[in-house]
Amino acid sequence: MSENMEHSGQARRQFITFKSGEQEFGADIMTIREIRGWTPTTELPHAPPYVCGVINLRGMVLPVVDLKARLGRGKTEVSAKHVIIVVRCGEQTMGLLVDAVSDILTATESDIQGTPELARDTQSEVVEGIAVLDQRMVTILGMDRLAAMLVDHKPVSQAA
């Protein structure tokens, strides 16, 4: 990582990295408010499969998104070891259910590549880019894109 830090004159960004399934993901540290253990959710009627429900975050009703399900890899079998990352995008707050938080990572803009053109799928909708650091590949998620899907109102018939 140290060699990447030496790029001078470029804007540096810090990312929190976390695991969901086998893959490592990153999210801009500025969007992350806190990380907390799994608490059981209250399900929302007719929510898409990737919305686990809502939890009480100190009086705020917070929707929780299962990242694994969102990326089309099946629902997470939750246990006490899972964590919820509380993400704030603009005025919107949501929780992101992941397996574990691993690291804090510093990267410059040049370390981040765009999504490969051939790899477009359900995942690429929410991916901002790919960071390659120390032979690790970290998929950087665009939190605003994830969050936007929760507030776009869908008609009743489609939500079912």
């Binding site: 209250t42 007719h46 809502v54 009480n56 776009d152 079912a160």
Partner: protein, 703 residues
């Protein structure tokens, strides 16, 4: 925000309060309880509105307020009696002044001649009492008002004697640089006679742009008494080159009331003390005049706080209460040593938290007066339009309710008063024939009852014509022709959508919105409305509303593995149905048989996709609810878990709206429970009925 803009906003806020004070005073005068203090208060209010308006250059407002003020001044000085006809004109003038203020606020000028009638009446009144004032009224149309010279009075023409001086004093930065002190000058002037100082902050920029070395304040100083021009000039001798100075003679007007300085909030003055360190001192000097001090003492100290801040506080306190409950539970479960001592501490904490919660909730409350005060004007206008004589009696104006409730009370009340006067009250002729006094009485009252606010609107008019209501309902297909209805049921037909009793559409209440809209407004607020009517004696509408929209009385129900809250206002009754009462109707629908009627049965669990819900309604509980669009529904739930007051938490902003869910709440155990929206459930039912077709069409895109 542009500093000028924010001062303007403050001015308009002040105006609202001043207009209310004015109206209150005028109504007291109308009721014959006018002592000099009341008249003075009205005068001060109008004067302050005029003064501030001048500073912002609202010319038509100032010119109207000026005429108004002149008449008030005559009343105050006893030159004019405040008998009924005069007060009537004053009340109308008050209405027009309010129009001027709202026109200035919205930036849309009033239509030409809107105030002409009243202006002429005011002029006539002023005329009556001023000797040889004929020319004054001729002058009214082309009077030119200089915005800053707030207290200019056209009495100059009629009374040339000099009673004092008005000094406009605008220090330059160099004045302070040369170690001069405006305070000393003011003190000097005070030795010459009664001094009234008004500070003009309009040039004051926001704190960020403020240059401490610059001078931003200006003062208008009125010196009463017979001081000569030379003496005045002498006071300013040392600063003459370092300031703008306008000195003019004051006509012998009746003593001018010092302004209670409405546009200046203390905080603003503090924040700006840098450029003129003596400013606060001058403020006190200004307030030395006894009438001003009285005026200030009469006004309760208040601060303006952003509603969001209060809401955050309310939220946090709500959380604190839940956390305390959780903590108590944990301590109890853990059976720790010394649990008794901890327990008693927790009980103490609980009491404190309850007090805290109540106090915090009280911050959001306001007296209903702010809505009630708008009604007298409405009544006056309606009385004039319908040629009826109406007396409005207001009771319990001090009753306090949450601000959100108050904000949404105005519209339904307005509509109901229109109805009461237009349909309820008879014309004076009709009333005389019925042996009633010419003047009809409409009473609007508010009261606290059992944790809710009860608002009643009653009139002594003709009552509801049940025959006609019934006829109309049949005509519109709202009830079958042979329906047997009790009197009460007939009366309540007027709340049905699409019902309007006006035999001909009048421009007052027959505007396509009927009592159904009123009822909907009230229900949206979590309230109920009922009517009681006696033919020939009048009608009474009773509304019960929650004290706040932040909490709701709900029934907590279990459906499968989930807990939901049903608003109590929608619930008619709950029952355990027998198997034979449930009749299949179609492949998807069943009906529930309750006392000779059939009500559609809605399987809540199925509708909301909850796992593990009881599928046999006869093994669970059925809750009969009243919906807005589809009448009664029977919702099936597994069990009733209790009834409690819950704090409403919206998740809008974090998640899209869900049809059938109104909001969420947090239960005592810290878990989130969803609050059901009965009308949304109806919509969802209807969609589900067509569900097959939709899924067919949607398969292509969603498969």
């Amino acid at each position: 925000m542009d500093p000028m803009e924010s001062i303007k906003q403050t001015y308009f806020q002040e105006c609202e309060e001043l207009l209310l004070a004015m109206e209150e005073g005028l109504i007291a005068m109308e009721g014959g309880e006018a002592d000099s203090e009341v008249i003075n208060a009205v005068f001060r209010a109008v004067h302050s509105i005029k003064g501030g308006g001048g500073a912002f250059g609202f010319e038509s407002l100032v010119s109207f307020a000026h005429h108004f003020e002149t008449v008030l001044d005559h009343v105050r000085s006893g030159k004019l009696d405040h008998d009924a006809p005069v007060v009537k004109v004053l009340l109308r003038a008050g209405d027009i002044l309010a129009d001027h203020v709202s026109a200035a606020r919205s930036g849309q000028p009033l239509t030409e001649g809107h105030d002409r009638d009243v202006m002429e009446e005011l002029a006539a009144l002023a005329d009556d009492e001023t000797s040889g004032g004929g020319e004054a009224s001729a002058d009214f149309d082309d009077l030119d008002f200089t915005p800053m010279q707030i207290e200019i009075a056209d009495e100059e023409a009629t009374a040339p004697a000099i009673s004092g001086w008005r000094i406009r004093f605008v220090p330059h930065a160099s004045l302070y640089a040369n170690a001069n002190e405006p305070l000393l000058i003011v003190r000097e002037l005070q030795s010459l006679g009664d001094v009234d100082v008004e500070v003009d902050l309009s040039r004051l920029p926001s704190l960020a742009e403020l240059d401490p070395a610059n001078a931003y304040f200006a003062w208008t100083i009125t010196v009463q008494g017979g001081a000569t021009r030379e003496v005045i000039d002498e006071a300013f001798e040392f600063v003459a080159g370092d300031c703008d100075l306008e000195i003019e003679a004051l006509a012998a007007a009746p003593d001018i009331e010092p302004l209670p300085e409405p546009a200046v909030e203390l905080s603003e003055v503090d924040g700006s003390s840098a450029p003129a360190p003596n400013a606060p001192a001058i403020q006190t000097a200004e307030r030395k005049g006894p009438p001003a001090v009285e005026a200030i003492a009469a006004v309760k100290q208040t601060i303006r706080v952003d509603l969001d801040k209060v809401d955050r506080l309310v939220n946090l306190v709500g959380e604190l209460v839940i956390t305390q409950a959780m903590l108590a539970q944990r301590v109890f479960e853990a059976e720790v040593q010394g649990a008794a001592a901890v327990g008693s501490g927790l009980v103490e904490l609980e009491h404190l938290l309850r007090d805290l919660q109540e106090s915090v909730m009280a911050i959001r409350t306001q007296p209903v007066k702010s809505v009630f005060q708008r009604m007298p004007r409405l009544v006056r206008e309606l009385a004039a339009q319908t040629n009826k004589q109406v007396r409005l009696v207001l009771e319990g104006e001090a009753t306090e309710v949450d601000k959100t409730v108050i904000d949404r009370l105005g519209e339904p009340l307005t509509h109901m008063i229109r109805n009461a006067i237009d349909h309820g009250l008879e014309t004076p002729d009709e009333r005389r024939q019925a042996g009633k006094p010419d003047e009809g009485t409409v009473t609007l009252s508010a009261d606290h009852r059992g944790g809710r606010i009860v608002i009643e609107l009653s009139d002594d008019g003709r009552g509801i014509n049940r025959e006609r209501v019934k006829e109309k309902a049949v005509e519109k297909g709202l009830i079958p022709p042979n329906a047997m209805l009790s009197d009460e049921e007939v009366d309540n037909l007027i709340f049905l959508p699409g019902f309007s009793t006006a035999s001909e559409v009048s421009n007052i209440s027959g505007r396509g919105v009927g009592m159904d809209v009123v009822r909907r407004n009230i229900v949206e607020l979590g309230g109920r409305i009922v009517i009681a009517s006696t033919p020939k004696r009048g009608s009474r509408f009773t509304m019960t509303l929650p004290l706040t929209l932040a909490v709701l009385d709900g029934m907590v129900v279990g459906v499968g593995d989930q807990t939901f809250v049903l608003p109590l206002t929608h619930i008619v009754e709950s029952l355990q149905p027998r198997k034979e009462d449930i009749r299949p109707f179609s492949s998807e629908r069943s009906l529930l048989h309750i006392r000779n009627s059939y009500v559609p049965l809605v399987r809540t669990g199925e509708l909301l996709g909850v796992k593990g819900a009881q599928s046999d309604p006869s093994k669970g509980v059925v809750i009969l609810v009243e919906s807005e669009g589809a009448g009664r529904l029977a919702l099936t739930v597994d069990a009733i878990l209790g009834q409690r007051q819950v704090v409403i938490k919206s998740f809008e902003g974090n998640y899209h709206r869900i049809e059938g869910i109104a909001a969420a709440t947090i239960l005592g155990d810290g878990r989130v429970a969803l609050i059901l929206d009965v009308d949304g459930l109806v919509t969802r039912c209807r969609v589900n009925l067509n569900h097959d077709q939709i899924t067919h069409q949607a398969t292509g895109t969603f498969g």
